[in-house]
Amino acid sequence: MSISTRRVRAIFRKELREYRRNKSIVTGMAIFPLIFLIQPLVVVFVLPTSAAGQLAHEHLLLYMLGIPALVPAMLAAYSVVGERQQGTLEPVLGTPIRREELLLGKALASFVPSVAVAYAVYAFFLACVELFAHPGVAPALLQGPYIAAQLIFTPLLAAWSVWLGIAISARSSDVRVAQQLGVLASLPPVLVTSLIAFNAIHATPGLALGLAAALLVLDGLGWRLTSAAFNRERLITGTR
């Protein structure tokens, strides 16, 4: 099976244009990052220099991995059921596009802006810490392994959320229900990072590698499994 990059690009571009002009999506994309940005910023800004040492044990930065886990789920959950509700799915499925191409285009359209937002918020947070936190806080917080973990886990978590969101979207008949289920289904990775952040799970390089490998495998399987579960006939006729 050959994948047409032109068709994937067509879906990707169309989705981005739609997202940009959809107020509820723009609002949703702004709210989640704000929630995950404000709490760590407040913690860091009120922290005196004398208490900076404890940051090394708190893994505060992992908290921000909630952004790549939740934002793409919300976007991806809209992708199929949103088209179905506005009656645009049938014309698209009537073109020569393969389901793998359609899903890849939709996945990229959720993945790219989500990862971009997650990295941008993270960069903003680091800049704020560097510029405005009390002396000693920044060096305690900005450690290589945490920054590397953020850079590596952001796309891995986002991809996982995207495939979950699309799978849910392809089985739902209502946008809001799909988005709520998508966000709910993306909570387990947030739970794991929270447990690590609260030291309930001891963070080690081995654990990080294991989690990254597991996510990588799941992300690879996600495309195939979601494609296999994508039923053209059910989506068009609404039959079970």
Partner: protein
Amino acid sequence: MDSQEGGQRSAAALRVHGLTKRFGTRVAFEDVSFEIGYGEVFGFLGPNGAGKTTTVRTLGTLIAPTSGSATVAGIPLTPENGVEIRRRISIMPESPGLYLRLSVAENLQCFADLYEVPDPGDRIERALRAVSLAGRAHDACGALSKGLRQRVALARALLSDPDVLFLDEPTSGLDPVAARDVHELIDTLRRSGVTIFLTTHRLEEAERLCDRVAILNTTLRTIGRPDELRDRLFARALAVRTLAPLPDPGSVFGGLAAVDGWHQDGPASYLLAVSDSTIAAPAATRALVAAGAGVLSIGESRHSLEDVYLELINQDTEASRR
């Protein structure tokens, strides 16, 4: 517009044999067979729920048939051939299905890419010109009227220069002016040789636009040219109107050449069953004049496609009651 690149074009644009689609125990359509030639405008008529849209979706590879076979644009209808078939056809669904937040041009650009048409800019311009929307390319689709959205959907269907164009209720919900515009567009497409499969329950639309029609009511009830169907279903008749009732109509119409029978249709009007109206009409005129009747009119009694349609659907309704 060739359906077989580098090869012979098959004789039929659509060939359907015994096609059936069931959803569980519910039959959408059953044992449907027909052929459509290239360049033909074929009307697919039937009441709501008759299976027209499901037939279009099946032939458009959007849903799989339960049994039967078909070739679409010369390609056998199988799951493996879905992409190849969809490359050669276009479907305009009943609802235009446009991205309302995107402009007309953005909508068409997306579909031009999905069909991988070469030189999409030029193709979009031509499609918009064909539906007289060249000046509205940058309007948001959400700001267009229902009639204009239908035209955009038609432009989208034309982008890929399809071998077979499926139009599913293209004038549904349109006002008479917008519907007339769509009719004119279909007429233009017919003149340019596009094969059109038109589903509708507007019978005057089918009569005006289609070379042949089929009437579906879960099973295919009849198929043919509109005038053929009329002849097949209804006896030829002459309608006679006189100034006053004839004192003895039996003596006037009895034994006339090519007149098989007659009955009174009103106080001073009569319906003559005829085998050949070119012989019966002059004979009836002479007999009426000889009887001293004041003749108002003598003409062929025309049955419309609507009469054919209603007759068949009523037969089905009565059969289901028995």
